[in-house]
Symmetry: C2
Subunit: 439 residues, 2 copies
Amino acid sequence: MSDKPTPLSGFPELLPEHRVVERQVIASLSRSFELHGFANIETRVVEPLERLAKGGEIDKEIYVLQRLQATRHGGAEAPEPALGMHFDLTVPFARYVLEHAGKLEFPFRRFQIQPAWRGERPQEGRYRQFTQADIDIVGRDELPFHHDVEVVRVMVEALDALPLPNLSFQVNNRKLIQGFYRGLGIPDVTAAIRQIDKLDKVPAEAVRALLVSEAGATEEQADRCLELATIRVADTSFVERVRALGVDDELLETGLSELAAVVDGCREAVNEHVRVEANLRIARGLDYYTGTVLEVFMAGYEHLKSVGGGGRYDALASDGRTTYPGVGVSFGVSRTLIPLFSDGVLAPGPKVPSRVLIAVVDEESRSASDAIATSLRRRGIPTEVAASAQKYGKQIRYAERRGIPYVWFPDSNEIKDIRSGEQQPADPDSWTPTEETEQ
Amino acid sequence: MSDKPTPLSGFPELLPEHRVVERQVIASLSRSFELHGFANIETRVVEPLERLAKGGEIDKEIYVLQRLQATRHGGAEAPEPALGMHFDLTVPFARYVLEHAGKLEFPFRRFQIQPAWRGERPQEGRYRQFTQADIDIVGRDELPFHHDVEVVRVMVEALDALPLPNLSFQVNNRKLIQGFYRGLGIPDVTAAIRQIDKLDKVPAEAVRALLVSEAGATEEQADRCLELATIRVADTSFVERVRALGVDDELLETGLSELAAVVDGCREAVNEHVRVEANLRIARGLDYYTGTVLEVFMAGYEHLKSVGGGGRYDALASDGRTTYPGVGVSFGVSRTLIPLFSDGVLAPGPKVPSRVLIAVVDEESRSASDAIATSLRRRGIPTEVAASAQKYGKQIRYAERRGIPYVWFPDSNEIKDIRSGEQQPADPDSWTPTEETEQ
C-alpha cells in the first residue's frame, strides 16, 4: 500500500486520546445498566433484507451485502437470503428475542452498545457508521406499565453519570395524544400525529393547515391540537392544564396518568444536569410506539435534534402465536461524543495508558529495565519501556509527548514526576503513583 | 414481524450467559494490553475495495456494500468508491496508521478488538462474522527488533490470564528459513516456503515432491528442508541443531539469533498453561512477513488450526515516502470461545448481572421496594425489583431461574440466600453480599 488514504465521509474514526474517552463513556453506561439488572448482548451486524424492510421506516438507506467472488463468478452457488447491515439496534433485537425466546427469561432486560449503519448522505450529526447504546425491557404476552417508568429512570441515571452538557428528557404518551384527538373528534388520528411531529421543522401555521388538509380536522380542532402541543412542564401540572382544554376520553385519561407516573417516577433521579419534562408535542414519527414516547436533547446541541429517544411498543416482536411488548430508550454515543470532541467540550484523554516510562541506559541492560516494568505491572501500574537508549533528555521528551507522567531511571533507581520536575529514589516493588492508584 | 426467524449460518450469536463470559475475556485482554502501554483504537468496518484487495491474499471472500436505494434507483448520484467489509484487523490498521500518521506517536502500540467478516462457506471454527483481538507495534522508518520479543511476551501474558485450555505459541523466523534455503542453494526460496507451509495438510513425501517441482530443489536439498522443518523445541537448543545441518548463511545467523531472543525473552512468562516453542516448520503463507512468524494452538482443539498468529512485517504500510514496519499478534476470540462454549469447556456465566431481587408485596408498595434497590445500587450492588407482586414462592423461583442469589423481602427487611436457604434481617444501607463484593 503506497498511497496516502483519504478519510471516508460519514465514517468517523477516533484518535487513541478520544477513543479512551469513548471507552470510559461506554464503561460507565454499561456499569449503570448492569446496576439495574440489564444483561448485555451483541447481535450480528446483518439481517435478512426482508426483516430490515419490516422495521417501520422502509425509506432508510440500507447497506446491502454482496460476496465479491459471487459478483465476479456470477453467483454459481446456491442462492442465499439477501443480507443488509442493521440501521438501528431495535430491529435486530426484536429478531434476537424471537429467535432465542425459548432460552431467555422474561421480562428480559438487555443493553446493547454497537454500531449501526445507514447509507445516507453524510451531514452534521449524521454518520454512515455510528455507535448506539440501547436499553429495552421486553415481556412475553404482557409487560406491566411500571417498566416504562423504570427504563426512563435507568437512562436518566446512566446519562447523569456521563461528563456531558445538560440533558433534557422530553416525554409524552401516545395514548394521551390519541385519546385527546379522538375525544376531540379528529377523523384521522394517525395523520394528525404525523403533522404535529413536524412542529420542530415547520411553523405552527403550516402545521395547522396540514392538520386540516391531511387529518381532516376543523380549524377549531386544529387550534386545540396546537394548544395541547404547547404544554411543556417539568412536573405533573400538565394533567390539570390538559383537563382545562375540556376533552373527555378514556384513552386520554390513561395517557395522562401514565405520563404523570413517568415524570413522578423520575423525580428523585433528576437534577440540574438531567431534567425530565412532559412535552406534549413529542410524537415521534414511527408508527409502532403505543404509549410512552420520549426524546433526549443536549443543551447547546439542539441543532443535532435528539441525541436519544424511545418509548413503548406493544408489539416489538411477534411470531404469530406470542407477542412480545417492549419499552426502551436509545442513546446516540457517536452522535453525542463526536461533536463534543470537535468542539473541545470533551477534553481528550491520555494518548497511551502507560503511567510510567522505564528509561533504558543501553541496549545491553534493556532486560534490567524490563524487570522493573514487570514489577510495576504486577501491581497493576501500566508501564512501558523506552524504545531506544537515547540520552535521558530525549527519553523524558518521549514520555512527555505521550502524556506519561513518570520516568524511571534504572541506573539510579530514581523516578521523576515530569509534571512537577521532582525526582526521588523508588523501589520497584513498592512505589505507587501518588495522585491516582490506577488509570 | 410475525414469523419465527431461523439462524443465519456463519453468524453465531451468544446468549446473555455466554456473552458475559466473552465480555470478561475481552476486559481481561484489554487490561493486559493496557498494562503494557497499548492504546485502544477502533477502525470503521469498511475499507475501499481497492485497499482490501492489496492486503496480501486477494482470494478472500469479501463482503461488498451496496446502498439499497442506489440499487433500486440505478445509482443516479455521484459515484462513490466501492466499499467492502474488512476481513481482518491488519489491513484497516495499516490504513489507519497512514491516514493518521501525523497525529500518532511512534513506536505506536495499539490493541484492537473488533469483528471482521468473510463471505466464506461456513465450517467448524470458521465464521462469517468473528471477533479478533490484535496487538501491534508500529514504527516510523524503523522498529528495533526487541519489539518482536515484547509483542509475543505481551500476548503470552494476556492469554495466560484467560480461562482457556493449554496454549502453545509456535514461533519461527522467516530470515532463518530464507537464509537456510538460500545457503542451501534452492533456486526459488519463496516457492519453497509456500510448500513447507503445507506440511500440516499434506504428507512430508508430497511436500518433498513439491519442493522439487515447484521450488526447483534437488532431492537432497528437499530432504534438508524437511529436516529443518522437524526441529521443534521449547528452548534455544534449536540453534545447535540447525548449525549441525551445515548450512552457512548470514541471514540464517540473524534468523537464529532473533528466534533465540524471542524464545529466551518469553522464558519468565511461560508455564504449564502457555508454552512457547521454536517450531522451524511454521512459515505462514502470507508473503508480507519478513522476520518473526508465529501461530498459537490450543490443546484439544488442534483441528481448528491456529487460534492466533502473527509476526514481523517490515513494510506494514507505506505512503511512498515513509515506511512503517510493524510486528503484531492476533488472537481469535470467537474462534476460541464459541467451540469452548459448545463443548461446555467454558461454563456460562449468570443470565443477569443482578445480585439481589427485591420482592414486591403489592403494586401499591412497589416504591418501597424501589427505594431498597436504590440503596443497594448506590453501594454498587446490581439489583432488580420483581416484575409483579406474585406469591413470594413464585418471586423466589423467578430469582432462581435468573441465577440471582439473594431475595430481599421488604415487609420484614429480611434477605434470603437462596443457595443456602438462610434468611436473616438486613439493612438496605449497610448489607453486602458475603462471598463477593461485586460482579
